[in-house]
């Protein structure tokens, strides 16, 4: 029994050693070959270094990450409307409404265009005599202007403990045209305003402007001064 076991073990050992000797037949042991050959290469390259020939540089195949730069949104344009009171010389003060557009050129300077209209009332002469000097259509006071503005006194206003809004005063002056009393007049406008920005994209304006033009509507040539005060709301885009 014991001898049988010995014979069995001997056969097992013999067969295992036989398998080991035939392993290259099935592709096993290849990795060892490669490592052996790389060893040989390194030895060869070292020999090349010694002989003064340049070593083989490995080209890194790394793809550089392309950074796609997102477009930065510019918010220099401003568009909105306003509502207020316009005092038309000799014709009383009445409500005025209009639209305004702006372009901010630098932090200081901005360009502004306004177009508004108001309906004039009656002169004291018209009220007392009952004679009407202008037709209903001619009583519409329509104007536009192109102005250059300058921001000054930048600051912040605080509402309670947690809210701060940026604000700024501005002055502006420009030229434009006024249609009133059946005539179109070259008009110079100038004024000042105050704006508060509850958010970066919205502004509340309070502005006072004078619109001056030369008129002979009532028979005498004179400079008519039309003072306007309005509250406006504009949006940046």
């Amino acid at each position: 029994m014991e001898s049988r076991i010995r014979v069995l073990l001997l056969i097992l050992i013999a067969s295992l050693s036989g398998c080991a000797s035939t392993r290259h037949l099935f592709g096993h042991g290849h990795s060892q070959n490669v490592s052996q050959s790389s060893d040989a290469q390194s030895v060869q390259s070292e020999q090349q270094d010694v002989n003064g020939t340049p070593p083989r540089v490995i080209e890194p195949q790394v793809e550089r990450r392309q950074i796609k730069v997102p477009k930065i949104r510019s918010q220099n344009f401003e568009l909105g409307g306003y509502l207020g009171t316009l005092n038309i010389e000799d014709f009383g003060a009445h409500e005025v409404y209009g639209i305004q557009a702006g372009y901010h050129i630098t932090e200081d300077f901005f360009f502004q265009a306004e177009a508004g209209r108001s309906k004039a009332g009656y002169t004291s002469f018209e009220v007392l005599s009952g004679i009407q000097l202008l037709t209903t259509d001619e009583r519409w006071f329509k104007y536009y202007d192109l102005s250059l503005g300058y921001n000054l006194l930048p600051g912040e206003i605080f509402l309670g403990r947690n809210t701060a809004m940026i604000s700024s005063m501005y002055i502006l002056a420009g030229i434009g045209g006024t249609q009133f009393g059946g005539d179109q007049k070259f008009t110079v406008n100038f004024g000042a305003g105050y704006k508060v920005l509850p958010a970066d994209w919205v502004a509340v304006h309070v502005a006072v402007e004078d619109r001056v033009y030369n008129t002979d509507l009532l028979g005498v040539n004179k400079l008519a001064s039309n003072l306007e005060a309005h509250i406006g709301l504009t949006f940046f885009f």
């Binding site: 550089r64 990450r65 950074i67 796609k68 730069v69 997102p70 930065i72 949104r73 510019s74 918010q75 220099n76 372009y103 901010h104 050129i105 630098t106 932090e107 200081d108 300077f109 360009f111 265009a113 192109l146 250059l148 921001n151 006194l153 930048p154 600051g155 912040e156 701060a164 940026i166 700024s168 420009g174 030229i175 434009g176 045209g177 059946g182 005539d183 179109q184 007049k185 070259f186 920005l197 970066d200 940046f236």
Partner: protein, 261 residues
């Protein structure tokens, strides 16, 4: 009503079809949400980056971003950038400070700045003529132009003239050739066509409004002032193709300021 809401919520989750549809939607939308950064990320290389409360040098500095930290660039107004720090603080950084930041790959953050180089090469231009003379009448005029190349611009001009005998409006479209866009004094010539609408004053014998086509040749000069500003003066020789036997010739002189962006 208070009891209805939870009941609706439970029934929606209980419905397998709806639940799967929601899950599918989330799976489909998730890659969109994380695929690209919405805002440009730049890194501070100077000792610190100052954040102002508003887009102007007069607004106070309320926060600083340290060297090596990043900010997201949210938007731009004139020469100021609204940025958000890694901690979520939002403020305005000046253009000259942003020029010293770098992108994630280490390259400098570049953008158009309003300077002499911008005067030479830009896309859009606008301006207002504060002085205008249209054949003796006062004129108010504004223009806008688009640069096809540094030397060739397409221009659109809208004007209103107010005179003793007639009022009217004009609209011109044309081409302008800038000879030396890199010069501070930069001359140009222009050529174009337009429409003139004339309203003679009611006191005249023929008070009929009329609209005529016109053509012009012109010359002018631009002078770079500072930042995004320049002065512009020009002369245009208009020929108005009237319905009468003779065409009308009008000289137009204008001076004003312009800006580019």
């Amino acid at each position: 009503m208070r009891e209805l809401a939870p009941r609706l919520g439970r029934s929606a989750l209980r419905s397998p079809v709806l639940f799967r549809a929601c899950a599918l939607l989330v799976l489909l939308l998730a890659p969109l949400a994380v695929s690209a950064r919405e805002y440009l990320q730049v890194f501070v290389t100077t000792p610190y980056l100052e954040l102002h409360t508003g887009p102007g040098r007069g607004y106070p500095v309320f926060n600083v971003v340290e060297r090596g930290a990043s900010v997201d660039v949210l938007k731009r107004r004139t020469d100021w950038f609204k940025v958000r720090t890694e901690r979520g603080v939002e403020g305005w950084a000046a253009q000259h400070d942003m020029l010293k930041t770098v992108l994630a790959d280490g390259t400098a953050f570049t953008f158009d700045v309003g300077d002499r180089a911008g005067f030479t090469s830009h896309h859009w231009e606008g301006g207002v003529f504060l002085y205008g003379d249209w054949g003796g009448a006062s004129e108010i005029s504004a223009y806008g132009s688009y640069s096809l190349t540094n030397t060739l611009q397409v221009e659109l001009t809208v004007s209103e003239f107010l005179g003793n005998t007639a009022n009217g409006t004009t609209a011109d479209v044309g081409l302008a050739h800038v000879f030396f866009p890199q010069w501070r004094w930069s001359p140009f010539v222009s050529l174009g066509t337009g429409i003139v609408q004339t309203e003679p004053k009611a006191t005249l014998v023929v008070p009929a409004d009329r609209s005529d086509q016109s053509a012009y040749v012109g010359a002018g000069i631009r002078f770079y002032l500072t930042r995004r500003f320049f002065l512009r003066g020009e002369y245009k020789d208009h020929i108005i193709f009237t319905k009468r036997n003779e065409n009308e010739k009008v000289d137009e002189w204008k001076a004003g300021f312009g800006f580019f962006f």
